[in-house]
Every structure is written in structure tokens, then in C-alpha cells.
């Protein structure tokens, strides 16, 4: 009996200690992983953001927007990214803010120095969200209470927001909107893809005495039948009357699921501007980039057509009625992605894109005067690890590249030769 007891005690002792050892090891290993992640990336540290968006104010100040723990933050740099101002939180009440891929906050600044931000607030139901908007008036240090831009009050998808501010300080927001698709579904009618909606916020919007909560932003419908999961591109272009008009480019669904690109002045008929005939019943996840140079619009996009795959460039001098010969500048074997075309601070063109060689990601840049001929591509940055998308920033003191690497200090790259 005693022998049995001793044996039993020894067995429980050994088994218990072995299991305790492994459980402690497991707990420690999990805890250390979590600690590494959270210790570095606590609070509003921009280095820890998954995505960072930036824009340059008319005065040359570079503004950044990013999210952390359900808050949207902005800060700025006056010395081309060497030093940064203290982050300021936009929302005081936490909300689920989309910050992955192209669904990321946007920040723009007008000629007076007012700062505007828009973002996507995720709603509990899958693929539903609202477009939100807030502003920081010159001289103030607190952003306005956020307001919802989409005026349909529908639990539907409103996402892929793009925002721009004009020379006369009008802010335009353009986004993909699921309200028409949802309404068609309710009626039992077919509806292809999503819709594009837009809204203009005039400077007087900031000056009215109406409380922020009661201010309404009127929405306008543009087109139906666009791809549901690709970014939009927006640029002001010189109009034939001498003023300025806003042009949007997007991936459209033509005919039987042909995912080529369309371009149009907001409110005007669209023009098809790419013809690679990529037929796909799915999510390409690649949207275009555009930039205007007087009346010429420069366009770059990804396509995976039956005869050509990779990144393409072309320009149009007549809002897409005719398109220049297409330049297939990066082949699919380079794993190319996310073109960013700008008319730089010097008035010349720059085109950047990302490639991956199996080990490291590279950002390549090429330049052109008017888009007819391009320089050789040169590598301006390389990194091994997870990266955000590349964005070129036109700047009067020399153009910059924003290429964020989550978990690492934010770096701007000089890209002017």
C-alpha cells in the first residue's frame, strides 16, 4: 500500500512538474510575442501605424494621417520629414477606423491653412461603413466633431474615400457607395458593382453658426457599375474655359466583367481609357493613379489582361476621348504594384511603383517632361519586410516619396535628381 502511494505521488509529481514546465514555457512564449508587439506600438506612435497617408500644404508643410486604437491622428513636418510635430487626435470618441490597403484616412490643407480629414468608419455589419469628415480651423488646436458625409442613412458600404482641396478652398470628397446596389437588391433587381458618389464642401461650411452635428453635406451620384474593391484617383485639371474641374479615374466593369479603367469629369459622361480586357469575376485590388499637367492628364494603372499584364501608363489631352499609346513599363514577373504618378514641384512628371524580387521590395522611379518619353527606372528605396504602399508627394523644394514600413520610424525619401 505504502509502495503504491509513494509510486502514485512520484508519478503525479513528475507529470505535474513536466506539464507545469511546458505550460510556463508556452505562456512565456506567447506573452513575449504580445509584449514585443504592444510594447513598441503603444499609443499614437506613427511608426507603428499600418498605413500612413500624407499631403503637402500650399505652404510646403507635410501633413500625415494615421490611426491607432480607434483614434485618427495627424501631425506635420516643416523640414521634409526630419522632425515631426506632436500628434493630435482628431476624434475624441473612439470609433473603428479603416486603415488597411487603400481604405485609409486622407488629409488635405487649404490655402488658408485649414486642415481637413476624411476617413472610413467601419460599422458592425460586414462591408458596411460611413465616410467621416472633420476639420481643424487655422488658429485652433481641436478638430471639429466628426460628421458623416454620406447622406443616405443606409447601413451600406461607403468607402475608398479620396479627398482634394481646390485653389478656391473647396473640398471635394469622392467615394465608392453601395446604396444603389443595396436598393436594387431590395427591389430584386440586378446591379453590377458599386457606385461613385461625391460631395463638395465650400469654405462657408466652416463659418456657419449651425452646430456641427446639424450640418448636412449634400451628396451627388456620379456613376454606377464600378469595381467594388479598387481605389479611386482624383485630380483637378485645367478646363477649356480656363478654370478648373475635377477628374476621377477608376476601375470600371465593362460588358461581361471586363475590368478596365474609366475617366470622367465629375458629373460628366465617362470615357474608357484602358483596353487590356482583364476579365475577372473577383477583386483586382489594384486601383489607378492620375495627375494633371495643365490640360493633360497622366494615368497609370495595373491590369492583368490576356495579352499584357503589369503596370501601364498613358496620357490624354481631351479628358479621355483619345488616349496616347500605352507604355507597359513593368511586367507581371516583377510583382509590380501601386503606381503613383505626380506632376512634381518642378512641373515635371514622376512615376513610382513597387516591385518584389522574392526577398526584398523596391521602389522604382522614372521621370518625364510631358509623358512622351521616360527616363530609365532607378531604385530609390529597398526593404526586406512588410511595407505600406508608395506615394509620391509633389513639393516645391523637391519631390518626396512616402513609403512607410510598419514598426519602423517614418522615412521620407528624396526623389528629385
Amino acid at each position: 500500500m505504502i509502495k503504491t502511494q509513494v509510486c502514485f505521488h512520484r508519478v503525479t509529481n513528475v507529470v505535474g512538474l513536466v506539464l507545469l514546465f511546458f505550460s510556463v514555457m508556452l505562456t512565456q512564449s506567447v506573452a513575449s510575442t504580445a509584449a514585443t508587439t504592444t510594447a513598441v506600438c503603444d499609443g499614437s506612435n506613427i511608426a507603428c501605424a499600418k498605413t500612413v497617408t500624407a499631403s503637402v500644404s500650399p505652404a510646403g508643410r507635410i501633413w500625415f494621417a494615421w490611426t491607432a486604437s480607434d483614434y485618427l491622428y495627424v501631425n506635420y513636418s516643416d523640414d521634409r520629414g526630419k522632425t515631426f510635430s506632436r500628434p493630435v487626435s482628431v476624434n475624441t470618441t473612439p470609433e473603428k477606423i479603416a486603415a488597411g490597403g487603400e481604405k485609409r484616412p486622407k488629409v488635405v490643407v487649404d490655402s488658408a491653412g485649414n486642415v481637413y480629414v476624411s476617413w472610413i468608419k467601419k460599422l458592425p455589419q460586414k462591408w458596411t461603413s460611413d465616410i467621416r469628415f472633420s476639420w481643424l480651423k487655422v488658429g485652433e488646436d481641436v478638430f471639429s466633431a466628426p460628421i458623416t458625409v454620406n447622406d443616405d442613412k443606409e447601413i451600406a458600404g461607403h468607402s475608398f474615400n479620396e479627398m482634394i482641396v481646390s485653389d478656391i478652398d473647396e473640398v471635394t470628397i469622392v467615394w465608392l457607395d453601395g446604396r444603389n446596389s443595396k436598393a436594387a437588391k431590395k427591389r430584386g433587381e440586378p446591379h453590377v458593382g458599386s457606385s461613385i458618389y461625391w460631395a463638395v464642401i465650400k469654405p462657408s461650411f466652416l463659418k456657419t453658426n449651425v452646430s456641427v452635428e446639424k450640418r448636412q453635406i449634400q451628396n451627388a451620384a456620379y456613376v454606377n457599375g464600378n469595381c467594388v474593391c479598387c481605389r479611386l484617383a482624383l485630380t483637378p485639371v485645367e478646363s477649356t474655359e480656363g478654370g478648373s474641374e475635377l477628374v476621377v479615374m477608376w476601375r470600371h466593369i465593362f460588358g461581361d466583367n471586363i475590368r478596365d479603367h474609366a475617366l470622367g469629369v465629375l458629373g460628366e459622361p465617362l470615357q474608357r481609357v484602358s483596353f487590356e480586357q482583364w476579365k475577372i469575376d473577383g477583386c483586382p485590388h489594384h486601383g489607378p493613379s492620375i495627375s494633371a499637367q495643365n490640360k493633360r492628364i497622366h494615368m497609370s494603372w495595373f491590369n492583368d489582361g490576356p495579352s499584357a499584364s503589369g503596370l501601364f501608363y498613358a496620357y490624354t489631352d481631351n479628358l479621355g476621348e483619345t488616349v496616347s499609346p500605352v507604355f507597359h513599363f513593368s511586367k507581371s514577373t516583377d510583382s509590380p504594384a501601386h503606381p503613383s504618378v505626380i506632376t512634381g514641384g518642378d512641373g515635371k512628371l514622376k512615376l513610382a511603383w513597387q516591385t518584389f524580387d522574392g526577398v526584398q521590395s523596391s521602389i522604382q522611379v522614372m521621370t518625364s517632361v510631358r509623358g512622351e518619353q521616360w527616363s530609365d527606372a532607378r531604385v530609390v528605396a529597398q526593404f526586406t519586410g512588410a511595407t505600406d504602399y508608395p506615394f509620391l508627394l509633389p513639393h516645391l523644394d523637391g519631390d518626396l516619396l512616402l513609403w512607410h514600413k510598419p514598426g519602423h520610424a517614418l522615412t521620407l525619401y528624396e526623389v528629385s535628381e
Partner: protein
């Protein structure tokens, strides 16, 4: 007997608590397998296995998954591997939610490891642009890719199932 209890109880407590700690830690990993570069080859090794890639951010992928869910209810033994390309841990709850709906005896499920989307896409197929849904059948050691939503008839044809 009292002595036996006195001597044994602390040890049993030790044993039970260690089992509880271990299982609670392990259960967080058990639900979802993280695909890394190291196990891509293994995943794509089996002949005539259908590998389907999807994301929570891809509405058309859910059409495909709904079709698959219905098909698996009738044919739970289909040799299918599902890989979510959501390499952001914040999305893993949604990924797990979807995987819980799918019942298959030969179904294996993965999610891209944290921050590894670019590297994994390249390791799977360097010409794959990231378009979703994407699927592959391994045929004579080659990965034959397809972009876009698979139809039920495609899967029936692949696995030689009776026509619907």
C-alpha cells in the same frame, strides 16, 4: 487515507492547473494555422488538391465560400485547402468565423502569417497580382492557377462529382 489525500491533493492541483494553463494557451493557436514561407511547398505538394485563396475584404470571395459550404455539406471529403490572405491579426476573428462554418473531413485551413502577404504571394506564384479569389490545382507538380469566383460546376468537374 487522509494522509494520501493531503499528499496527493496539492500535486493534483498542480497537474490540473498546468493542464488548464497549457490548453488555454494552445487553444488560441489551434483555431487558425498561420501560413509561412516554410510551409508553402508542403501546402502545394498534394496532387489534385484544390487550394482556394480568399480574404475577408473580398465580397466575391464570399460567393465562392457560400457555394463551397453547400457543397461540403453533401461532399465533406473534398480535398480542399483554404488560405485566407488576411495577414493582419485584427481580421483573424472574421477569418475564424468563416472557417467555423465550413465542415469537411479533408478540409485544411490557413491564414497568411502577420505582415507576410507580399512574400507569400510571391512564394505561391510570383505572377499572381493579389487578385481574389484565386485558386490552384496541383497537377503533375505544377500549380495551375485560376483567378475569379469558382462556380460549383467547376468543382464538380474537378472532383468528378455528379452534375447538379
Amino acid at each position: 487515507m487522509r494522509r494520501l489525500f493531503r499528499l496527493t491533493f496539492p500535486r493534483l492541483l498542480l497537474l490540473v492547473s498546468s493542464v488548464v494553463i497549457s490548453s488555454s494557451v494552445l487553444s488560441s493557436d489551434k483555431a487558425i494555422g498561420q501560413l509561412t514561407i516554410e510551409n508553402v511547398e508542403e501546402v502545394f505538394q498534394k496532387e489534385n488538391r484544390l487550394v482556394m485563396l480568399w480574404s475577408v475584404d473580398c465580397p466575391p470571395c464570399y460567393q465562392e465560400l457560400a457555394m463551397l459550404e453547400a457543397l461540403l455539406a453533401s461532399y465533406p471529403g473534398l480535398p480542399i485547402t483554404l488560405i485566407s490572405t488576411d495577414d493582419d491579426p485584427e481580421r483573424h476573428v472574421e477569418v475564424e468565423e468563416q472557417y467555423r462554418r465550413l465542415k469537411g473531413s479533408k478540409l485544411t485551413t490557413w491564414v497568411f502569417a502577420d505582415g507576410m502577404a507580399t512574400q507569400l504571394r510571391y512564394a505561391i506564384d510570383k505572377t499572381w497580382s493579389g487578385v481574389l479569389p484565386r485558386s490552384y490545382v496541383v497537377n503533375e507538380a505544377k500549380r495551375v492557377g485560376h483567378s475569379g469566383v469558382l462556380k460549383e460546376k467547376d468543382i464538380r468537374q474537378l472532383f468528378k462529382l455528379p452534375k447538379h
